[in-house]
Structure formats: C-alpha cells, structure tokens
Symmetry: C2
Subunit: 334 residues, 2 copies
DNA sequence: CTGAAAGCGCTTACAG
DNA sequence: CTGAAAGCGCTTACAG
C-alpha cells in the first residue's frame, strides 16, 4: 500500500511532476485547458492528496500554530482555545494545543518541541519563567502572542483582561449591596502571575476608594491544596467576612465545597462573586453572580494577531497590550 | 536569521552531517567518546533543535495523531480529549484536534486534511456518514479508532459507553423513587447516532421490564433548536411526566432553562436525571443526579489502542468493541 | 505552455 | 569509527 505521490499523478496524466505541482498550486495561467483537465481527472481517479509534510519542508511554512496554555483546567483556557481554533480554521490554519500544567519546565519543553515542528507562530499563556526562550523568539522575529499574563521584560503583543477593573466591579457590587467586611481568595502569587497580582491590587485599591479597611485576614493567596485550610481559617475568625470574591474558577469550587459542607448559606451568610463566568452558573444554588471575561473576543483577537504577524513578516510595529473589558453577570449569590 | 540546520552543527563540531544525525538518534555504538562530546557541545552552543518536519518526511512518521470530534461543545468530548492528550504526551506523541461540528462535510474535510498532514493515526468521533473514507482507511491498513458511536458497516475498533445500561440505570432509579410516568428527551436521531438510538432503546426496554407503559408523548428526540418547543408540549400535557431523563448535557441545559422559567420545581414537580456528569453538577439547584461516563478511562483506552496500532503495524487482530460502564451519581434532583 | 533540475533538512544503508 | 550519497515528496526558478 505505498502512498500516492505527485509522480503517480504525473504518470497517469502524462505530464511532468512540475506541471502537476503547478496545478496543485492553482497556477493555471500558462496551462493548457486540456492539460488541466487531464490532471484533474488523474487526481480524482487516484484519490490523491498532496503530502503536506513535504510541502511544508519545501515551503518552510506549516500553516499550523502552536498554543501553550498554562493550565487547561480553567474554563477560561478552553474557551479561548475554542475561539482561536475557529479563527485559525477559517484561515486554513491548524492548531496544536499543549498544556504546560503550570510548570515552567513543561512550558520550555513544549516551546522547543513546537518550534522544532516548525509551527508558523505560537500563542502562549506563559507560566512566567523561560524569559530566555521568549527573548530568543523576539530576537529571531518569530511570531508570538501572549495571552492572560504580562511578561514585561520582553516585547511581545499581549491579550489580557482588565483585571483591576474586574475586581473593582466586584467590590463595587458588594458595596452597593451593603457589605463592608469583604474578602478575596486567589491561587498563589509566588510566580508573579499577572492576573492574580493585578486582581489583588485592584481589590485593595477598590477597598481604599470606598474607605473600607483592608483586613489582611480576609485576603488569601494560596496553592490549590491549601485553599481549603485557608477558608477554614477565614470563616472561623471571630468576625469573618460577609462577602468574598473568588479569584478564579478553581477557587470558586473550593469555596462552594466548603460552604456546602459547613452549612454556610449563600447569600444569606455569605455573599459571593466569582471571576470567570463558569458554565451553568445560572443553574447553581443560588445562581452565581460572576465577572465574565470576554473569552471569545480575546481568543479571536489573539488568533488574528498571530495570523497577521505571520503574514506581514517584515512590519515591526510597536508592541501592543490589549486589555479586555470584564462584564458583571448579576445573579443571586450577591 | 536563517535557521540552524544539521550542517551548522556538523561544521562547528568538525564532523559530517551523518555523524551528527547518528548522535541525534542516539546511535552512539560506534561513535568516539570525543566525537560525541564535540557534537554535544556544538548543539548546546548553537541552541540547535532538529527540524521535525524534515525528519518526518524522511522517516514517514510524524508522531502526531489526529482527533476529530463530532461536537466539541459536549463536556464528554473535551474530557476524552484531555485523557487522549495525556496518554499521547506520555508517549512522545502530539495531537491535533478538529471539531466536525456535527457536519459530515467538515468531517470529510478534516479526515483528508489530517491524512495529508501525515498523521500516524486518527481517533474519530464519527458523524456517521463518510463510510467511503472509513473503508478506505481500513483497506489501507491505516490506524483508526472510533469513539462514542458505532459504525457497524466497517471494521474499526470502537470505544463507547454501554448506553443501554446507562438508561436502564436511570429508569431503575426513577422506579425506585416511585415514579411511573417517565419521559426522556434526546437530540435528534435522524443520522442514526448510536448513543441516542441505544439510549432510547434502552429506555423503552427498561420501561417494559418494569411493566410501565411507553407513552410516546413522553419521548422526544429533537434538534437542539426544537427542544424548547418539545418540552413545552410535553409539560403542558394534561398528564405530564413526573420524571424525565436528559439524554445529554445539551438537552439538560434546555430542560433546566425551561423549568426555571416556568417555575417547575425539581425534584418536587419533576424528577430529573441527566446522562453526562456535567462539571459542578453537585452545586446545582438542586444538586443533579447524573449518569457519568468514565470519560477518562475511555480516552486513555482510545489513545492506547491507536498507539498500539501504530506500533505493531502488521498485526491484524479481530476488531474489538469496548463498552464502558456508566456510573450513577445520586444527588438530589431524583 | 511544459519539463529537467536543484533543493528544503533530515535519515539510512553502505563503503571505507 | 566516520563520511559521501541517495532519497523522502514536494516547489520553484529557469530553460526551452
């Protein structure tokens, strides 16, 4: 079962391989009407499809882009991937998705692997380390777009949420509802992950703006496996928070588990807002008030930017940072 | 910024390209200790990584497998993809995921595209058409594994849920809870999609076993955009069902929307079980009783099977159908 | 209007 | 132990 090649088509159509290749690339200009027909029939008869690996080697482009997400467990990541995929497919590009699993080592491995596979460009949700690799890509003028996190040391176009605005919206809503003892829980900030840092900063700023005290006991930034204990600490305070902001969907799940098990009623005992509009949030008990990220638009933009960079190779414009607007989805948990 | 090739390494290390290639492929047997060191250093110094496209062309394998899902909107699909990805990455394989979006035409396009890209094998959640393509792959001894649906016309190993058992479990639970007027809603079966057909069949069988009447007005099999109207019809019957089984997560969302808007209380007015253990089901109002598919195991098995087929090319064993056990997650909606 | 030839960056017998 | 040569399946100037 040896695979079909351009040679088989050429022989059947009684032309040279070059001519078949011209046909495949739709360069019909100087091609005889009859020749074209013959090639067309030969291809149909054999069921021939060009070997894209060979084409890629020769053309030096693969029409595929790599996507490395920091952690695919966030609904945020999968939604953005979906949008990227749509745009890419509309433009005849494929994507290969890799999950760095919050590990800089895995990220490094994937960047190298995807570049070795000759991806035409990379969209990265960076773990924040691997600066050397990022810099190398920039210096080689290799197309990259960063999503979700800022890597300020390096000049790469970036797509992210207006995180401060997101937390401020939440705090504002808490305040309007009359809460004053307001807490926040995020995942760990040890690796200086932009959204967490900015959300925390925005949270404190908002508190200040509303002349509310910043109670450090109400603010937790923890590894996933410590969240449980942190919540327990926070809610057994003699004066626990009346309202809490979940920094992302992973934190949310922990809070929901905790309140459920300990019988804390939302919103009566505790008002809750979550950043990330998790699927089915409106069916929750109670329906969840969330701050939604415009994941679809963010993904589209990331894809459009990488495709544009791939197409206009030479244009070295200024590096842009695009911040997207969050949107509050008011339901019943606050 | 011309990319590095094996030639650059060879020159720097003062050996031939062949020797570098031997090194890259870890064929150290006859290689001088000192030569190896020199090559190693040259590679490190240049930051060289082999061009995998060129390697693939030469080796005629790409170490990547294609995955085509019928509809990526189902949580079922994404969970299985995750498991496939894990196994593949453990084995040095990459995957390219495509979403056929329930369209046989898109599926055809993707199969051709992925084969042209020289994927080493394909895992397909088939739309059910495109028999000619499936047959061609079989006759060419090309590695394929099918997931979720049966394509009986063709000899391809298949992974799917024991669908009848799934519906029977649900009916049994309804019956144990004392319900006798039991309904079921699935998405359309026009294209003879296995799970829907089998679930419907299992549903009717179970009803018969419990000597319950099969009330056709309680059974709906509709396109997504008709579900809403179908529910409205069903629940305005003079004697509507007391319990209903949602055939998948898309149907579930429609039911939840409908009951919410019309004020039907679950489980007091209507008992509900859903096939597919949607994420966060335990936080729903009320916590949802579901029939879970072992998506993780199913994905793992699919990946293992395709890798095995890729590795032992010649072995043409009998074609196996693997049915996986569903599991009931009893919560409070029934 | 069509074909012969070179080359993309590797790998793999084979010679020495 | 190492190197020269052929070839994977295409594309692309270039010649005619």
């Amino acid at each position: 079962m040896k695979p079909l090649t351009i040679k088989d088509v050429a022989e059947l159509a009684n032309v040279s391989k070059s001519t078949v290749s011209q046909y495949l690339n739709k360069r019909y200009e100087y091609m005889g009407e009859e020749t074209r027909k013959r090639i067309e029939h030969a291809i149909a008869e054999l069921g021939y499809h060009p070997n894209i690996v060979a084409r890629s080697l020769r053309r030096k482009t693969t029409s595929t882009i790599g996507v490395i997400v920091a952690n695919i467990l966030h609904a945020f990541s999968t939604e953005i991937i979906r949008a990227i995929e749509d745009v890419c497919h509309e433009n005849g590009f494929h994507i290969i998705v890799c999950n760095a699993d919050d590990s800089p080592e895995k990220e490094r491995k994937y960047i190298e692997m995807l570049r070795a596979k000759q991806m035409d460009g990379l969209i990265i949700f960076p773990t924040g380390s691997n600066l050397d690799l990022y810099e190398r890509m920039v210096s080689e003028n290799y197309p990259v777009v960063i999503v979700d996190r800022l890597v300020s040391e390096v000049q790469i176009p970036t797509i992210l949420l207006d995180n401060k605005k997101a937390t401020k919206m939440a705090v504002q809503h808490f305040v309007e509802k009359g809460y004053t003892r307001i807490g926040m829980v995020t995942t760990s900030i040890v690796r200086h992950v932009t959204p967490r840092i900015e959300r925390l900063a925005g949270f404190k700023e908002a508190l200040r703006e509303y002349r509310l005290p910043i109670e450090e006991d109400y603010i937790k930034s923890l590894n996933p496996n410590q969240i449980r204990a942190g919540l327990s600490e926070m809610f057994t305070l003699k004066s626990p928070p009346q309202a809490v902001l979940a920094g992302n969907d992973l934190v949310l799940a922990e809070i929901l588990n905790y309140t459920k098990e300990t019988g804390i009623n939302i919103p009566n005992d505790l008002a809750l807002i979550a950043i990330d509009d998790v699927p089915y949030a409106k069916f929750f008990d109670p329906p969840l008030t969330t701050i939604a990220q415009p994941t679809f638009e963010m993904g589209r933009r990331a894809a459009e930017m990488i495709l544009e960079k791939i197409q206009n190779t030479s244009v070295t414009e200024e590096v842009k940072i695009y911040r997207f607007e969050p949107k509050i989805m008011i339901r019943e948990s606050c």
